[in-house]
């Protein structure tokens, strides 16, 4: 009888621990900071023959104040975000094919100031606590990694007129020890960059008349036209909670 009384809590405890170790240890979630007063997404229509090409002239990137070469993946993400707006007829990147010199086009210069805060002190202390507990606390103690980006976009029209836009976004990845992976950090950076780009391009879309040839106001009745708007991310961003599969680590 006594054996049964003790064995149930023991078995239950063992099961809970096994479940915690199996699932809790390898979980992670990402919190993106809420944007106060973020404008609602805008969708408008532009006659396709009034669209002009876009030239991405420079993308300057800094991380914690140190200049970095912009990763190719980020360049592609930025180019893809501009393409998805359908605001421009063609998309060129400096160093590759260029629009014809006599062709009206829009030139953009983008500056990205990224900030990374891995909370190294807290991570070291948490790691010590987890180790000292013989990893029993691994499903409970979380580690944090902050990432933020500020983007400043300068857009120059074919006639020399310029406009400036700014946006910022930040987020935190929370993870347990056994869920630590570069994929998690890449996921955080991707979501933060995506959110920031969306905010930036929402502002550009609101200035659609500025970017169309002849400054003809967009019309809903034009036959040859395209819908203009930022591509909304398919991935949920507030907050995401997933379990890392072993294969993804």
């Amino acid at each position: 009888m006594m054996g049964q009384t003790f064995s149930r809590p023991l078995i239950g405890g063992a099961l809970i621990m096994a479940l915690s170790l199996g699932t809790g240890c390898s979980s992670h979630w990402i919190d993106l900071a809420e944007q106060k007063g973020a404008p609602t997404p805008l969708q408008t229509t532009v006659p396709s023959d009034l669209r002009v090409p876009l030239l991405i002239e420079t993308i300057h990137t800094t991380q914690n104040g140190v200049a970095l070469a912009t990763p190719i993946a980020i360049e592609h993400q930025i180019l893809g975000a501009f393409e998805a707006t359908k605001l421009f007829s063609q998309h060129f990147q400096s160093g590759y094919a260029q629009p014809a010199t006599n062709q009206p086009h829009v030139t953009i210069r983008l500056t990205m100031n990224n900030s990374v805060e891995p909370h190294a002190g807290n991570a070291a202390w948490s790691g010590f606590i987890i180790g000292a507990s013989m990893f029993i606390l691994a499903p409970i103690v979380t580690l944090d990694y902050d990432y933020g980006t500020q983007m400043a976009l300068e857009v120059e029209r074919w006639d020399g007129q310029t406009k400036q836009y700014q946006a910022s976004s930040s987020g935190t990845a929370h993870y347990h020890l056994f869920a630590a992976s570069q994929h998690l950090i890449d996921e955080l950076k991707g979501q933060v960059t995506d959110t920031c780009l969306t905010q930036l391009l929402d502002q550009v879309i609101r200035d659609t008349p500025f970017y169309i040839a002849g400054e003809i106001a967009p019309s809903e009745t034009t036959i040859r036209s395209v819908s203009v708007g930022t591509k909304r991310s398919n991935t949920p961003v507030h907050p995401v909670s997933t379990s890392l599969e072993p294969a993804t680590r």
Partner: protein
């Protein structure tokens, strides 16, 4: 012992042979949050009798397989730029003196690696955990077989490839039972070691 020596020599030769092809290329290990490390280290325990009550000259080879997880990206902008990893290590010691006995332990560990020199990475480490040995009871310093082992030391990793490093270093080893049985004078030793790590 001959088997242990053969295993270590084979793994050393294998690592050097596989590393030869990339010696000319620039080795630049990219260790970030989530990079894991598995390692195999071996050394020889040399006794320290710190007081006149310590009489045992315990010594013998030690082998230490380990696993670690990097939990920070490199932090700092000076010579101390480095990153933290935590993990665990098994330790097996074959005491050849004063009696042929054995010891096995499991020690969570924490390590700080200095990354400023790129492929040459000094590190400091600390580990501690339970340790069982049948040497206890046969010597005046220790009375119980269940003990704890604490180690602290430093070393240097030399990256042969982006993922493989050769390690050498020194640890101070302390074994005692935390006062659970008396006598509990403790055993102290130096442990110079060498080994290999694989990062993924």
């Amino acid at each position: 012992m001959p088997l242990l020596a053969r295993v270590l020599a084979t793994s050393a030769l294998w690592t050097l042979m596989t590393a030869t092809g990339v010696q000319a290329a620039e080795v630049s290990p990219n260790i970030t949050v989530g990079t894991q490390e598995v390692g195999l280290t071996a050394g020889y325990l040399l006794p320290h009798r710190l007081t006149t009550d310590h009489t045992t000259k315990q010594q013998g080879p030690a082998i230490m397989p380990s696993w670690m997880m990097t939990i920070t990206d490199p932090v700092g902008n000076s010579w101390y730029r480095g990153q933290v990893s935590v993990g665990a290590e098994m330790v097996y010691i074959q005491f050849q003196e004063p009696f042929l006995t054995h010891g096995v332990g499991f020690t969570p560990k924490i390590k700080y690696s200095f990354v400023a020199l790129n492929r040459i990475r000094p590190y400091a480490e600390f580990a501690g955990g339970p340790f069982w040995t049948d040497l206890a009871g046969k010597i005046p310093e220790e009375s119980s077989r269940f003990n704890f082992v604490l180690t602290a030391g430093f070393g240097v990793s030399y990256f042969l490839t982006d993922q493989t490093a050769f390690n050498v270093g020194y640890r101070f080893h302390h074994i005692s039972n935390a006062g659970t049985h008396y006598p509990n004078l403790g055993l102290n030793a130096s442990l110079p070691f060498g080994g290999f790590s694989f990062f993924f």
